[in-house]
Symmetry: C2
Subunit: 201 residues, 2 copies
DNA sequence: GCAACATCTGACCATCCGGTCAAAACCCAT
DNA sequence: ATGGGTTTTGACCGGATGGTCAGATGTTGC
């Protein structure tokens, strides 16, 4: 029952988490059922509960993993690099995250939307601290006149909002755009322009 | 049972919708229970079902109302007005909507996040048409050199993303900002700067 | 090939939840 | 005040759902 030890445990734990991500991200926590997850995973319900003690535990594991993937691109923003290039790099990485991990993005969004009942601690701690740290870097860049003067925290919010939108509101984006569009490619170009203009000192 | 006729029917229907908005927007459709809604409304569960035929029907009523509130600010964008002022006005109205109707915003977000199972038609129809119409106006403004050349649809997406973020991710925004901030006032100032810089020809 | 342990499952349980219904309580025009 | 309609409710139902458990089936080291 403890976390992965044998090959089988590792494989099945992963299968379950993969299936759970599918279901949780499209139905929310309460909307998801163990039967659904079991079916997607190709395992029996009691078998899920052999690997994880509860539905809660599966969800919690997903959220914990998520947070790291989530914050890494911001962590990588180098205080010693070129300001515009660093911020652009962050935007690009975050957009890639939306493109490659839309389910993770939606899982996160649902959690926050519902008041972050199972993630408060992480948001109050790790996330807030990281933003505070990077806001200082942004502030310094502004003070040095290397980028335009803006509220650094809201600048970060804008990046989150604009990149996550494409994963979280995917259905809407694709419907409005219609056939024959590559939303992410277009978004990349649009955001490039947007931040170039916004950041120019 | 049909929609409001007597005073009591009107009052109770409203009470129920108000309570349902509270619960649906914070728990999602499946997460919400009739018992919860009944409790918030101060009515008994069977009494809810005297006014609405089902849980679905309550939800559907909310979504239908929502769509109008939602699209109105975009409708108001005047093709004959001053381009920058009109777009800024739309941004401001949309941000006001987030501030004054965060629950509606979250209800909408949850619906789209989960693939818009109960709103597809409206999105494919009304919403897509309105965006197409306004995109033409934006395109014309660009062709006339009155605002910068951008992808007009993604410009609209950016407004949606940036304004809704403050309602949908309220918990995160407030946590990261900490005490002593007025998120919406700051967001207003930030977005003013952002769109001024982005739209300048 | 076999013991010891890991993995898996069918059957089952308690609870929750959307919805029904018959009857009670209420309201109000006459 | 009384009768007819409206509103409200307690009791109940059937199905879904998270979780349990005893035992069956597999796997592995010897």
């Amino acid at each position: 029952m403890p976390r992965p030890k044998t090959r089988i445990q590792l494989r099945n734990s992963e299968t379950i988490l993969e299936a759970a991500l599918d279901v949780f991200s499209s139905q929310g926590f309460r909307g998801a059922t163990l039967d659904q997850i079991a079916e997607v995973a190709g395992l029996s319900k009691p078998n899920l509960l052999y690997y994880f003690p509860s539905k809660e535990a599966i969800h919690q594991t997903l959220l914990t993993r998520l947070l790291h993937t989530w914050l890494d691109p911001l962590r990588e923003m180098d205080p010693n690099g070129d300001p515009v290039a660093e911020i652009m790099g962050y935007v690009r990485r975050k957009l890639e995250l939306s493109r490659n991990f839309p389910r993770e993005s939606r899982l996160f969004a649902i959690e926050i939307l519902q008041g972050a009942p199972r993630m408060r601690a992480a948001i109050e701690g790790e996330l807030t601290e990281l933003v505070a740290e990077k806001a200082l870097v942004l502030q310094r860049w502004m003070d040095e006149g290397r980028i335009a003067r803006l509220d650094p925290v809201h600048l970060v919010f804008s990046i989150w909002a604009l990149t996550q939108h494409y994963a979280d509101f995917d259905v809407q984006v694709r419907t409005v755009l219609g056939e024959g569009h590559d939303p992410y490619a277009e978004a990349g170009a649009f955001l490039e322009t947007l931040y170039a203009r916004l950041l120019a000192p």
